[in-house]
Symmetry: C2
Subunit: 320 residues, 2 copies
């Protein structure tokens, strides 16, 4: 969410000269993305995103992301294509960082999606799942179920974040460990499809972006993450039934979940809520309170977790 | 240098609807500007900068800035015009902030300007001074000579920043107070024309931006600020004679400084170096070391101050 690395104009001109995209007209750092440095690059050939990969994205993972976006773009998903230089290379080096020049997509991220926008997002997720099903790449989900205990431990005393949180997390980890599925349909998923990462114009999805958490996991877990991030009030206290139904209806246009997946959704959603609760708690503790980066409050995901723990949670995943 | 305020897409659509610039296609926060929130806004009508004014810019100063940019744009200076809505208003409200939609200018900021680029920057500064000479607006320079002692005092013990700095600053303030000119040609100046604030394509200046320190002061002081920021190595230890000459030569294409101004340049440049030394020292002390905003090292401006204190400093301002 910041620009960590400066790009020298001469180095930029040299980088752009490797491509058939004309010459640089403008390059402005943008406040977007996970923990990379992103620039909106304008050349005589068009507009692009220039991403410099900072420490949280491993350079060894970049070919996986390039292949994934190529695969999805080739199947018509609205994902940003990685631009190739004249020698066919997508991954470059600039300012001591691995970097890619990426297609610019129009659209803005929603903060208060309507029902029809939720339906469009659900359909885009489903279409992405259809498109990715025959993608050969694999990547371990470093933010997946088997890593949550580590995140909790690395955070330290969770009661510092929210009084009583430690016991809640310990109980939830034990609950999920005893019941986490092993055999649901799995392939590469986005794993972080918050509204931030969906560009829309009106009711049309114009971009699915920021695939840097993409990894192999249950497709229904991706549905659960999307449900947790699209269907709740900002404070996490209220699941909006209309938005939740619209999301599930949109997804169902593209994918029919198996009975086992449908049954697992409340449990997977508890996992999704816990995942973001834990990573936010971790960053809350490890980000100085006076840093300019906005710490994300973990509490709204505790509220979601409580909602998903309720006996009637299955009703939140009904499409109609 | 960050995005402090979030803009809701619905609020943005309502704001844009007041203008004849079409509908929103994209809006991305950019890491640019003094302490405002800036967005690169794309509509069906073109590209714009959306600026939300944060605490460091007083809303009561905004009409001055709007008038100044109008005046300069009307005289052909490459400054970003403030776009007016259908009712003629440039200053709006969004997300609880005063805001303006501003013309987007191509170009990138240089980090290592060549001689011919320095000459172009000097000429652009001179042309701006010619254009502003008949501008009726006035604004007190809150970062001008008479305020430096306050900045030093608000910083606290300067020796914490650089050992020995307190005595150097005390002596310099006394020196400048005794000799600061009172009668040089004055009008509104940019007062912060660092390379960051000049957009260029090749050797052409395509934009002078970020006028939020613009205020009434000596035009030769503006030359001194520009000299201090364009003609030195990054560490401030070395004044590049070729760049300095090119800058002065470019300025001389547009403006012939009076003998009194030429004589005053080394003194004004000591003041310029002290101004940025003090404000950087202030921000160094008052910005937490672990904040994500980059604190700017004050030391390079101490080095510049020393260079301008030397007996031969007048030679740094010769145009040929």
């Amino acid at each position: 969410m910041a620009v960590y690395t400066h790009v020298d104009p001469d180095d930029l001109a040299a980088l752009v000269a490797r491509y058939d995209i004309g010459t640089v007209l403008s390059c402005k750092g943008i406040a977007e993305g996970v923990e990379n440095s992103n620039f909106l690059l304008e050349t005589t050939g068009g507009r692009f995103i220039l991403t410099l990969y900072e420490k949280r994205v491993r350079e060894s993972d970049l070919p996986f992301f390039v292949d994934l976006l190529d695969h999805l773009a080739g199947r018509g998903c609205p994902v940003p294509a990685m631009i190739r230089d004249r020698k066919g290379a997508a991954i470059q080096q600039i300012s001591g960082r691995a970097a890619c020049i990426i297609q610019f997509l129009p659209g803005i991220s929603l903060t208060k999606p309507t029902g029809s926008q939720c339906e469009a997002a659900g359909a885009a997720l489903g279409a992405m799942h259809r498109a990715v099903a025959d993608f050969a790449g694999e990547r371990e989900n470093s933010m997946g179920h088997r890593h949550w205990r580590e995140v909790a431990q690395a955070t330290g005393d969770l009661d510092v974040v929210i009084p009583g949180l430690q016991a809640i997390v310990d109980a939830e980890l034990a609950f999920l460990d005893a019941r986490w599925p092993t055999t649901l349909p799995a392939h590469v998923i986005h794993a972080d499809l918050f509204p931030d990462n969906v560009l829309m114009l009106g009711d049309e999805v114009t971009g699915l972006i920021d695939f840097y958490f993409a990894a192999t996991d249950f497709r229904a877990y991706d549905v659960a993450v999307t449900h947790a991030s699209w269907a709740f009030s900002a404070d996490g206290n209220r699941c909006d039934a209309a938005r939740a139904k619209a999301l599930m209806r949109g997804y169902a246009h593209e994918i029919t979940l198996t009975d086992a997946e449908v049954s697992a959704l409340p449990l997977l959603a508890r996992g999704a809520a816990l995942r973001f609760l834990l990573t936010r708690a971790h960053d809350w503790v490890h980000t100085p309170a006076d840093a300019l980066v906005t710490r994300k409050d973990p509490a709204p995901f505790l509220n979601r977790l409580r909602r998903y723990q309720a006996d009637d949670a299955a009703s939140l995943f009904v499409a109609a």
